[in-house]
Every structure is written in C-alpha cells, then in structure tokens.
C-alpha cells in the first residue's frame, strides 16, 4: 500500500508549486515530485507583437528579476538589429544586471531562507518568517533589507524605477548615466560591502548546525552549466557556455550560446508546467544539470574581484570543488553578492561610464535573435524570430529556474527520503522538503510572489482515499 503526501502550496518561494511524496508500507519515501501548477503563456501571446516591445513585455514575467529578462530580451533584439551595442551601454547594462542579482540573492537569503537558517528548521512555523526574524535577529533582518535596498536603488538610479524599468532597450540603453547618479551609487557601496562582509563572517560557522542538510539537500553528482569568459572569472552578461561534470572536469569549455538548441533539450513531464531542460549529449534524464550561483562558482577559476576571491577561497577551503550540495547555494549567493558590489564599483569608476553614446539605432537586419545572460538563478535564454514587418513569429525561453528542474526533483527525493518517514508527519520534516526548493531559489513566477504568508495544508491519503493524517499551517 502506498500513500501520497501533498505539500501544497510550497511556501516562501517565488511562485506557485506543489510537492507530492509517495510513501510505501513501511512509511519510506519512494517518489517525490515538484509540480509547478501555473501556466503563464508568454511564449505564445507575444507572437504577433512588434519585437521592440519584447524587452518590456518579457520583463513582466517576473517582479523579482525583471532586469534579467530585460537583459536577455534586449540582447536577442540587438541580434535582430545586428548592431554593435556601444561599450558604455554594455557596461551600464552589466551594472543593472549585477544590482538585480544582489537584490534577488539578498531576498532569498535574508527574507526567504534566513528564517530556516537562523530560527531552525523545526522552529515554530508561526514565527519562522521574516517577521519572526525581525524580532529575534533584528540586526540580521535589517542587513537583509538594506542589502536588497542597495540593489533596488541602483536599478532605480539607472532606470528611473525599481521594478520594471524600461531603460534597457534594443541597441543599448535609453539614457546615459548622470554624474550625480554615479556619485550617489558610489556613496552607497561602503555600507553594502560592510553588510556582506558581516554576513560572510557569521554565516559559515552556522553551517556546522546543518551538516545533515548539507549532506541531503540535493547533494548528488550532476553537471554544472553557466556562462564563462576567457579570463576564467565570473561572467553574468556575455561569454560562452561552459559545462562541467560532477568531478570538476570541463566537458565543454566554450559552447556558443546562440547554438543552445544543439546541446540543450527540453523534456516535458505530464505532472508539471515547468519543462525539464537537459544536456543533450548525455540524454534525458542523465543530462541533468544545475545552474545558478553554486554552478557559476564551480565553473570559474576565480571571481575576479579581491574580496569575492578571498571569500571563494575560504568557501572552497571548507567545501572543496566541485561543491555538490545544493544547500550551499546559500553560501554561493553571499559570495556573488560580494562580487556584484565590487564589480559595480569598478564599472562605475570606468572612465567611459558617463559617455552619452549609449544606443545604436537600426532597422531589423536579421530574422532571428538569441540573447543569453546569467540571471540570479542561472542561465537565461531568450530566442525570437520575426517576420519582414518586425512582428514576432516565434519565441522560446529557457528560464534560469527551469534549468534546475531535474535537480530540484532529485533534491526533494533525497531530502524526503532522509527526513520524512513513518505514518505521522511532523511539520519540521516537510519544512525541510520545502527548504530544498528554497535552496535552489526557484523563481516560478515572481509576479505572484508570496513570502511566508501562505497557508500550508498537507494530507496523507491511503490509496482508497482515506485520510490518514492531516496537518495545517496557517
């Protein structure tokens, strides 16, 4: 006799999802699935729209990481125009992309995951949220809010508003950076650096309390995929796709992003609207790979900025490469925040950053364009085709979180097998299953984002439909 447990909805993630666990007679988990039960339809309803609309249209996929979509969509449109984006515009886009990564990482770490990390996986669920954190660890919570504010304010200084700025456009950006805004942004750097330094001091020792989670939260061999540059440092905007195996061997050093369809396939599972991308040469599902901050840190030789490099060295001294535990995505996010702040400072001090030549104009010169960038959660691909009038005829997107779909499912199974057993479910057991998902920080649909406020209803049913056990979290 098998039983099925549903975790619906999964809380403190971005978007809507459900987890189902199947238990055997002995109460051991046999299967685990993540079901993303929402359909957005962006690839379909943008057909027929003028391609110039695509960056703003696609940015509406997400309220947390709209800039990532702006970047990838605009890069795809740059290709349709077949123009050379002015160097200053590229640098400005990089700054905004990094600011986006900082604020998104801060959101996941402090607002969504820190309640588990600082209050404990088994702590009172009514307190295990940002508000509980504000009461018990006000300084930590405040740091998170301030760090997120830093990223959001950089986006606002550049693009005029924090969410959905229309500033990144096909061909570049639509307004140069003013000296006053540059000074304001530079003025915010020291405080942001102090916060992340502080966090990188208290967080690593805390990991000693999570040895079981590190062992079981998606800790398995997989490929790692991400953008890489010729210097071997972190790259979030340009470069080629690098693929590494679980032993740390580079199995593809530089794949052209525009040829993604040659090496990335998208499988469809009947129980989820989220597709399952895989690395084609290894087939499905063996071609499972992970993207995002942990994958990026595994892939690069070094970060490329002094403080982040020091943090990466400390990270790898503790957890040698390649780091396989998905629980350590949290740590990787902090190192990337450090890198982002340092890199933004470098870019703002670039002698050309105030140049007024920030946009290239042209009529469309190609009928197909592909834009690839690194979003907070991993590699993001936008692919468009247009007709002779410039209207979109085809759009395909591989969203960063989607790349991790196979790995998330595998991680849920691993953690569920370790933590969930018996006929009686304890809330803390299921929270750990959810926390696996939080470690990956999937952005299932940020437009319907909820933070710790959604009720959780778990039912344990016998095959005949009999309710064996029920648990509510208000």
């Amino acid at each position: 006799m098998t039983r099925r447990i549903e975790i619906n909805p999964v809380t403190r993630i971005e978007g809507h999802a459900m987890i189902s666990l199947h238990l055997d007679d002995a109460g051991l988990v046999q299967q685990a699935h993540l079901h993303v039960n929402q359909l957005r339809g962006f690839e379909q309803f943008c057909v027929g729209r003028p391609f110039y609309e695509m960056p703003a249209l696609m940015a509406r996929i997400c309220g947390i990481c709209p800039v990532s979509h702006l970047v990838a969509a605009s890069k795809a449109c740059d290709e349709l125009l077949a123009v050379q984006v002015p160097p200053t515009a590229t640098k400005l886009r990089r700054i905004m992309n990094l600011a986006q990564i900082i604020q998104s990482h801060a959101l996941n770490f402090f607002h969504l995951s820190a309640p588990d990390l600082l209050l404990g996986m088994d702590s009172d669920p009514t307190q295990r949220n940002l508000f509980g954190l504000l009461q018990s660890h006000p300084e930590r919570a405040r740091d998170g809010i301030r760090l997120r504010q830093f990223g959001q304010q950089i986006i606002e200084q550049l693009g005029g508003k924090r969410i959905h700025p229309g500033w990144i456009v096909p061909g570049g950006v639509n307004e140069p950076l003013s000296k006053a805004h540059r000074e304001q942004m530079l003025g915010m750097i020291p405080a942001a650096l102090a916060i992340i330094e502080r966090t990188l001091t208290w967080f690593p020792p805390l990991l000693d309390q999570f040895r079981a989670e590190i062992q079981t939260f998606g800790n398995f061999p997989s490929l790692f995929v991400g953008l890489a540059n010729h210097q071997g440092t972190l790259e979030h905007y340009d470069g080629g796709i690098r693929v590494m195996d679980s032993a740390g061997n580079s199995i593809a050093q530089w794949l052209e992003p525009n040829h993604y369809a040659d090496y990335i396939g998208e499988a469809v599972e009947p129980d989820s609207y989220l597709k399952s991308p895989y690395y084609k040469p290894l087939g499905y599902p063996d071609g499972m790979y992970r993207v995002g901050p942990l994958a990026r840190l595994n892939l690069v030789d070094r970060c490329g900025t002094p403080r982040a490099d020091a943090a990466l060295t400390a990270f790898n001294a503790r957890y040698p490469r390649p780091v396989l535990s998905s629980f350590l995505y949290h740590y990787a996010r902090l190192i990337e925040i450090m890198y982002g702040i340092e890199q933004i400072e470098l870019l703002l001090n670039d002698p050309d950053i105030l140049s007024e030549h920030v946009r290239a104009f042209a009529e469309p010169n190609r009928s197909e364009g592909i834009g690839v960038s690194e979003a907070p959660r991993g590699t993001l691909i936008h692919h468009y085709r247009i007709d002779g009038q410039g209207l979109v005829t085809y759009a395909n997107m591989i969203i960063a979180s989607g790349n991790n779909n196979l790995a998330m499912n595998r991680g849920i199974l691993q953690a569920a097998r370790h933590f969930v057993h018996g006929t009686e479910i304890k809330e803390g057991m299921l929270n750990r299953v959810e926390a696996v998902i939080r470690a990956f920080d999937p952005c299932l649909s940020c437009s319907t984002h909820a933070a710790g406020a959604m009720p959780l209803h778990i039912c344990l049913h016998a095959p005949d439909g009999r309710l064996l056990h029920e648990l509510w979290r208000e």
Partner: protein, 241 residues
Amino acid sequence: MPSSVRVKTLRIDDLDVAGDEQQTIFDVAVEHAIPIPTLCHLDGLGAVGACRMCLVEVTSANQTRLQPACATPIEEGMQIVTNSPRLQEYRRMILELLFAEGNHVCAVCVSNGHCELQGLAQSLGMTHVRFPYHYPQRSVDASHRRFVVDHNRCILCTRCVRVCAEIEGAHTWDVMGASSQTQVITDLNQPWAEAETCTGCGKCIHVCPTGALFEKGYSVAEMHKRRQFLPYLRAMREREP
C-alpha cells in the same frame, strides 16, 4: 471680432460668460479656463463628438440634457454644469468601456506615461474596470517602413482620419465595419505599405491619443507625441492667399 458676429451669453458652472455664436461650449469653457475632459477632440481638427468624454449637463428651455461640449454650439441663456457626480460617473464608465473593449496593456505600451487614455483614467479616478474585458482578436499592421498601427489600442477617436483628410489632404485613413468590428483602415483596407494615398507625413502618428499609432524603433514609454504643429497648420491653411 467682425461686427456680424452675434454674441451669446450663458452660464457655465456659476460663471457668467459670453461667446461667439459659432463657438462650442468647449471653446467657451477653454477661454475661461474651465476644465472639461476630452479624448477625441483635438485643437485644430474638426469636432465629431465620438468619445462622449466631454459630456456636460446643459439646461436650456427648462430641459436638462447631456451634450458633448466639443460639438454643441452655445445658445443664449444656456445653463451648463461641467462637473457633477453624475458626469464623473458617466465619464469613468466611458473610460472603463474603452478599456474593456480593446486590449490596453499600459505596462508594455510605447505610449505608457504619455497616453491620453491612461492620463484620463488617472485624473478621473478610474480605479478598476467593472465590465468584463472582451479581449478581442485584433491585428497589428507593421507593413509600413516607419509606422505601425496596433488596432488593439485603437479607441476609434478618428483623429487620424480627420488629420489626414483635413490637414494633410490625403484621406488615407477612414473607418470600416460596424459595432465591435469597427476599425480604422488605410485606403480600401489595404496594408498600410500598399496605401498609395499615404504621403508618409506622420501626422496621424502624432495626433493619436494612445499607442495605437506609433513610429517603429521605440520601446515601452518612449513614444512622445508632438501635436503643437496642428493649430499652426490649420491657421496657415485657412489664411487668405
């Protein structure tokens, strides 16, 4: 003012005013800085009273009626109310119906932030749409090398039709169909690129109150319409040789 012009006196919102008999209620209100919202009206173009946004309460000969201020000539002794709870409600309702019958997605529109429909919705306090959205299937014609018409955003104000006929003298634009199938067309409903009468002057683009007509190459919120040329062109056309 020539001596043959007859002056009429009337009352608008408790203000005694006077105007030339050929003036509309709207013209006189503007002269006295009395605000009346408009949408299809545009200074320099003939009035059609298509949108009904400028409805005012007109009391004349002991009868009160709702009349479009832009298309109603003044009469002696008229009592006019330009702003009342009833008018506010009707104007909001008209706006809601306009939003419900088209596909107006401000967030991704080239005219976001510079759109007259959006501006009116804000200024008249339209907080939501009470009517079910129709989500009509409408086309986008981007065949013209420089311009695009997106029928999803068209509110049938006919400014494009009027500016093309009255100012440019080309009459490329006109209106086709009836009821929910009504749409503006170029020549005999040909793709814009094939409309031989179009001079490519771009006046229609700039008089369009929404993002229905726009120039290629603009992203969200980048299309600023420039309309200051209209009264000047009109004046030049009407000047005696």
